[in-house]
């Protein structure tokens, strides 16, 4: 049984969220917008799961989603919606999530981000009457599988002095 580290560093959380915001807004070189990762979603999920009361607030998450939508030129509110749902799920399942094995956590994350992508795409598809982008769904699932890597990067203690 695995338990995530409970200590929260505000600096680390802020830095990771800023990096995630940049990647989610401006994309990564060599990747089209449909296959680019939504790193911010994974980072928010991580801190919401781990942080409890010290995790990102709903207002912060809402603003972050709006920023991503505005900077990315996407439908305004869609990312905010997604991130809010992520935080709500994290608050609901955080205790069970923290106590589960790494593989279970990864499966949970993959299913969650996939479900949210389906819902958000479904909303847009319903409005426009278009079909869903299956490539995007596969990409989202693939990026969800990198959850262990996200955990590894965010868990690591980067400070020179162990406090």
């Amino acid at each position: 049984m695995s338990v995530l580290i409970q200590r929260i560093s505000n600096t680390k959380m802020t830095v990771s969220i800023v990096i995630g915001l940049i990647i989610s807004s401006f994309g990564l070189p060599g990747l089209s917008s449909s296959t680019a990762p939504d790193c911010l979603a994974l980072i928010i999920l991580y801190w919401a799961m781990l942080g409890g009361d010290h995790g990102p607030r709903l207002s912060t998450v809402f603003v972050l989603g709006m920023v991503v939508d505005f900077l990315g030129g996407q439908i305004v509110g869609i990312h905010a919606l997604k991130y809010l749902c992520l935080v709500a799920l994290a608050v609901q399942f955080s205790s069970r999530f923290r106590m589960s094995a790494r593989l279970n956590r990864t499966v949970f994350v993959v299913l969650t981000v996939l479900a949210l992508e389906v819902i958000s795409q479904g909303l847009v598809s319903l409005y426009f009457g278009a079909s869903m982008d299956m490539g995007r769904l596969v990409a989202v699932a693939a990026w969800g599988m990198t959850w262990s890597l996200v955990e590894f990067i965010l868990e690591k203690n980067y400070s020179r002095v162990d406090r």
């Binding site: 401006f26 070189p29 439908i75 905010a80």
Partner: protein, 288 residues
């Protein structure tokens, strides 16, 4: 005083109320953006910021793109290299086959020339099997049915003697190679005319001239030919070339090693001498 569970429940309730409020706002924004295009001017303004940011990151992005192109082109190069290697291997095999065919053709032409010099008493044979033991050197050859090949006939190649037929079947015969331990041939030193017997050593292309007194004039590079003693076998078939002459302190005979002139493994086609042939069958000029 409120209970802890009530506090947690109250917090949860408060959280979900906030969540629903924000969710509603987000949904409203989505609706406004999709229906009214309310945020399009703001997005247009921000797109210029996006362009500026992207512009400032362009060198880094270009570097990353180059980096990915470098690896993808490297993978392509490795694949192409693999394909070329396969093609080259195939070409090498074809080239070696061609060289082998050319060599075989030359050998057959030489044998044909040999046969034309003496049309009688010769029979072409083809090797179908060979001994894989280093101590027992023989060849199984095949020839035309009813050919007059018999035990004791010499089998020759273009350069000289190969061996002697030791058993005959309907269209096959077993030839004992001169380098076999049990083989022996009456030979004559071409330079001096000294006659002796050469024995096989059981080693590849290696013979030994035995029982030659130390006083006999034999030098390295002397050519040994069949002596033709007995009248049955022809004189003058090259057998080997003296490769070393040394003195054995324990006996009165010299230790003379001879290298066979013909390599039985080099070709598949030879000629069996079934009768007496002319002395000038082999041109000794060709030996070197």
């Amino acid at each position: 005083m409120p209970l802890a569970s009530n506090t947690i429940k109250g917090n949860r309730f408060h959280f979900y109320v906030k969540f629903l409020v924000y969710l509603t706002i987000a949904l409203c924004f989505v609706f406004l953006d999709l229906n009214q295009r309310t945020f399009t001017p703001i997005k247009d303004k921000l797109s210029s910021f996006d362009v500026a940011v992207n512009g400032s990151f362009r060198p880094f992005k270009a570097w990353l793109d180059d980096f990915s192109i470098y690896f993808s082109s490297k993978v392509e190069l490795v694949r192409e290299n693999q394909k070329l290697k396969t093609a080259q291997t195939y070409s090498d095999v074809q080239l070696q086959k061609l060289a082998a065919t050319e060599k075989r053709l030359e050998e057959l032409e030489s044998l044909l020339e040999l046969r034309e010099q003496s049309a009688t008493g010769m029979q072409a044979v083809t090797v179908i099997a060979a001994s894989d033991s280093p101590y027992d050197q023989w060849l199984r050859v095949k020839y035309k049915k009813n050919a007059s090949i018999k035990s004791g006939d010499y089998v020759v190649g273009t350069k000289g003697l190969i061996g002697q037929v030791i058993s005959v079947e309907e269209d096959q015969a077993v030839v004992r190679v001169v380098s076999d331990q049990r083989a022996s041939v009456y030979v004559q030193v071409l330079r001096t005319g000294f006659r002796a017997v050469v024995f096989g050593r059981g080693k590849y292309n290696s013979l030994e001239l035995k029982f030659v007194p130390e006083e006999v004039d034999i030098k390295v590079d002397d050519i040994l030919v069949t002596s033709g003693l007995g009248g049955r076998y022809p004189y003058g078939i090259p057998v080997g070339k003296v490769s070393s002459v040394s003195t054995d302190l324990t006996s009165n005979f010299s230790r003379i090693l001879v290298q066979s002139l013909e390599d039985p493994n080099a070709n598949n086609s030879f000629i069996a001498l079934t009768g007496l042939t002319g002395d000038d069958l082999f041109s000794l000029d060709k030996l070197d």
